[in-house]
């Protein structure tokens, strides 16, 4: 596909102020097991070209799934034509960027293509059997997806970046039910690399442990009296809060209003760099270069090198996530956050691996200093408003802490608080660091991109907990 992209770029040379051609080929397999039945099993190849053209201030993009030269040339013509048609109504600019020529890849130790489909199905069936044997897991839904994405990004400015990215994703959703009620759990255990990553998460142990947690919550979980108390959160809760109330509001396209009609805007305004949003122990970063991460890349989809971005630094708003378009508006340069979820989508500002930087406390030290509070290890329901300020997390695995000791399970504790309240309440951050996968949704047409969320345990003081 790269040769077609090169020829198409030559064909369009000089006809637009900026021309970008992205060629993608993804080999994938999907297995979907529901209550022991293989509902879907498929493998295939997805491929296509995205052409973006900037003419005057007009931006046009044309997408084709044809690999024939004449069709890709037609896409070049179309992108230029519609960019020109939009010129009078538009003022899009792109920040300066050096041309980069490079190739990057993630190596697999246990190659995805060496894994027989029968073994993938068997792994899902083994987990399903373990869950079914328990007798109280009524709904069991699992998916195992793997892919190898080959991508070429070529621009009229001389950038030429190619990559090869293998990824594996295991997703489950289970519902436990006994006479006393029901509880649910879901998660995405995902990574970049080959099947060697399976050992990192051990999905069978992970999910069967999760099933037992749900049973304990149903059988012995108590609802407590609502009130102000301390809260220790686990890496999953830290991660979702980092993603939702630090990552999203730091996306410059939201800040500038480009996503306003759907995904919304941000409580952060351009002039708020340096403003305090949390306590001094809070560093939230977004980093596409975390090894093995599900949001891994070394160059973004505009060919800009990736790097770690400090979104909140020592509790202050520090840096936004940019693509070249938003960087131009705010008079800066891109920090490599442009991502498209596939060949048929435009690159927009996205997160990768968003997490709280670990500090100095052990989990035991975080807990031993709590007289009365909640240890919320993981969450189930969550949501946040469209400026990313008013958020809610409902505990999935949670326990009462009394006099520094973790006690009985607690049923669905709820925090419903503002971004400022959440991050300001953090008084200590753990030294541990864990991640899980997630699919982050944004834009229209919808773009679900692979990310990691995570961080260490954290302690929050005087938070209003409700049941």
């Amino acid at each position: 596909m790269k040769d077609v992209a090169e020829k198409a770029l030559s064909y369009g040379e000089g006809k637009a102020d900026y021309l970008e051609i992205r060629a993608e080929r993804k080999r994938y397999s999907v297995n979907f097991l529901k209550n022991g039945i293989l509902v879907a099993s498929t493998e295939g190849i997805e491929r296509g070209f995205a052409v973006r053209a900037l003419v005057g201030g007009g931006m046009g993009a044309a997408y084709t799934d044809s690999v024939r030269m004449e069709d890709v040339k037609k896409a070049v013509d179309e992108a230029i034509k519609i960019a020109r048609a939009a010129e009078d109504l538009s003022s899009v600019r792109m920040a300066e960027e050096e041309a980069h020529v490079d190739f990057w890849e993630v190596k697999e130790k246990e190659k995805i293509t060496d894994m027989d489909n029968a073994e993938k199905v068997e792994r899902l069936q083994d987990i399903d059997s373990s869950l079914a044997e328990k007798g109280f897991i009524l709904a069991r839904s699992q998916q195992l997806i793997d892919s190898i994405l080959e991508k070429h990004i070529l621009t009229s400015e001389g950038t030429e970046v190619s990559s090869r990215l293998p990824q594996v994703e295991y997703y489950y959703f289970i519902i436990a039910k006994t006479e006393k009620g029901s509880e649910q759990a879901y998660n995405q255990l995902a990574w970049s690399g080959g099947y060697e990553g399976w050992k990192r998460y051990s999905p069978e142990e992970w999910v069967t442990r999760e099933a037992e947690i749900l049973r304990r919550v149903i059988e012995g979980g108590r609802a407590l009296k609502s009130g102000v108390m301390d809260l220790v959160v686990g890496p999953e809760v830290t991660g979702i809060a980092a993603h939702e109330s630090s990552g999203h509001p730091s996306e410059a396209d939201r800040i500038l209003g480009r996503e306003a009609f759907l995904a919304g805007e941000s409580f952060i305004k351009p002039e708020m760099i340096g403003e305090r949003i949390g306590s001094e122990v809070v560093n939230v970063v977004d980093d596409p270069t975390v090894e093995g991460s599900f949001g891994y890349y070394l160059y973004d989809d505009e060919g800009v090198p990736a790097r770690r971005r400090y979104l909140y630094k020592e509790g202050k708003i520090n840096e936004f996530l940019h693509n070249r378009e938003t960087a131009a508006v705010l008079g800066t340069v891109s920090n490599g956050a442009a991502r498209a979820s596939g060949w048929s989508r435009e690159p927009i500002v996205r997160m990768s691996t968003t997490f709280v930087e670990p500090r100095d406390h052990t989990v035991e030290e975080l807990i031993e200093d709590v007289k009365y509070g909640i240890y919320m290890k993981s969450f189930t329901e969550w949501n946040i408003d469209d400026i990313r300020f008013n958020q809610k997390y409902v505990g999935r695995e949670a326990y009462l802490i009394e006099k520094g000791e973790v006690g009985d399970p607690v049923k669905r504790p709820i925090i419903e608080l503002t971004t400022r309240t959440f991050w300001s309440a953090v008084d200590a951050v753990g030294r541990d660091l864990e991640f899980v996968g997630a699919t982050c949704g944004k834009s229209d047409p919808m773009q679900g991109v692979n990310v990691w969320i995570g961080g260490p345990h954290m302690r929050l003081r005087n938070v209003y907990m409700r049941w």
Binding site: G60, A62, D65, E78, S182
Partner: protein
């Protein structure tokens, strides 16, 4: 002979027992705008051919891309399929055909004129800026199975506008239309004007108060909730144990005034004449006067539930499996205008839109969702003030059982990727739990 018929023939020769091949040729166009200008114009020219294959009780799906040799792809897929364990949920494809929908293709002479119409309609006193999109979808769909061959054109326009006032608070409207009459009523002019009107009202916002309220839902907001209801009516999710409608067939799930259809024969963004296994679509009665009458079915789920298909089989992007999916929820209108309903509210809320609906207990229906784009306190039948910062923390079955009234006109509502294109009137619900951040 259509390509899809040829693909079915080759697949059968290759050893498949049942085949459903679907070819979708898309010519889509989108204009996105914000900050007073156009951000990007996107166009797609794609041809996607997905093939569902069943043999020896096993099933798979495969995509044949442009330029590929169908025989080679299908032989490989059949070999792959034979090595799989049985799909015990699959009993066979719908053994028939039909579907007579032949709509005139919807088209726009100039999408930029329509964009300007939406933007101009949104520019009214008090509106500082607007953001939105027009998305014109035009698909030619061909489907062939062992038993039938069907084709149709599916085209529609989505218009979304969000208007911002000088305080930064908002109003939003979003519709789907597929014919000239609907375009005139609910097209870009209507959407821009409604968004601007809501933004003009949504001023001097104060933090809302927790409590239980009578709520009048705007069609955009209730359409998003209908989408959740439609999802939970999937017989597949009911069978899996992941629906709040389990064991409720024939039971009361709402009040007398609540009658819900899945209506793909009504012009709109969810319209179609046949499903992905070739069954002719129809207007399906799902909830009649508050009584749950039917789940959404494929031929296979229907057999499992000892009933007939509702023609809701969806093969997803590449026909990897066939699962029930609601096409276009339609909540039957009531008798009173929404203005009259609002006029009778002693104390309550008007909620224009919502987003981020998530469940803490899918099986029980416990969820929360975040209202946006206008939350108005109503006192003595009049809008008194605008609120912000609140959340609906509810149970879906409780909410349905508390439906008090449904207004006299159903509007097309489209709300982003999470929700289906629906038709919903304004809906009045009692005793809705409102919470807020502390």
């Amino acid at each position: 002979m259509m390509d899809v018929e040829r693909i079915v023939r080759i697949a059968l020769e290759t050893g498949a027992e049942e085949v459903a091949a679907r070819r979708v040729e898309s010519r889509d166009k989108q204009v996105r705008f914000s900050r007073g200008g156009v951000d990007i114009v996107n166009t797609w020219q794609t041809v996607s051919t997905g093939v569902f294959i069943a043999t020896d009780g096993r099933t798979t799906g495969v995509e044949i891309k442009r330029g590929e040799d169908p025989k080679e792809v299908l032989e490989k897929a059949v070999r792959f399929c034979r090595r799989l364990p049985e799909n015990r949920d699959f009993v066979g494809l719908y053994p028939g055909g039909g579907g007579s929908r032949e709509p005139d293709p919807f088209h726009l002479e100039d999408i930029f004129d329509a964009v300007k119409e939406a933007m101009d309609a949104g520019r009214r006193e008090g509106v500082k800026r607007i953001s939105g999109e027009l998305y014109l979808s035009d698909e030619k769909v061909e489907l062939a199975t062992n038993y039938t061959t069907r084709e149709e054109r599916r085209s529609f326009l989505i218009t979304t506008v969000r208007a911002f006032n000088e305080e930064g608070t908002t109003g939003q409207a979003s519709t789907h239309v597929a014919d000239e009459d609907s375009y005139k009523k609910w097209g870009p002019g209507f959407v821009g004007e409604k968004a601007a009107k809501l933004a003009s009202m949504n001023r001097s916002v104060r933090q809302g108060e927790e409590g239980n309220y009578t709520v009048l839902f705007d069609p955009l907001c209730f359409g998003a909730l209908l989408s959740e209801v439609s999802e939970a009516l999937s017989a597949f999710l009911v069978d899996t144990g992941m629906s709040f409608f389990i064991n409720l067939l024939g039971e009361r799930v709402s009040t007398d005034g609540f009658t819900l259809y899945d209506d793909p024969l009504r012009p709109g963004g969810g319209a179609r004449g046949f499903d992905d296994e070739g069954a002719p679509t129809r207007r399906n009665l799902l909830i009649e006067k508050g009584i749950l009458k039917s789940y959404l079915h494929t031929h296979s789920t229907a057999k499992k539930f000892s009933t007939s298909t509702t023609a809701n089989a969806s093969g997803g992007r590449i026909m990897s499996t066939l699962l029930p999916e609601g096409w276009q929820p339609f909540l039957a209108p009531g008798r009173r205008s929404w203005e009259d309903i609002l006029g009778d509210i002693k104390r309550g809320l008007y909620i224009a839109n919502t987003w981020y609906t998530r469940y803490q207990d899918l099986r029980a229906g416990d969820f929360s969702t975040i209202p946006r784009d206008g939350i108005f306190l109503i006192e003595d039948g009049e809008i008194k003030e605008a609120w912000g910062g609140v959340r609906i923390s509810e149970n879906m079955l409780k909410l349905l059982k508390n439906v008090k009234d449904v207004s006299s006109e159903a509007l097309p509502s489209h709300w982003w990727g999470e929700a289906r294109r629906a038709y919903s009137p304004h809906v009045l619900v009692d005793n809705v739990k409102i919470t807020k951040a502390r």
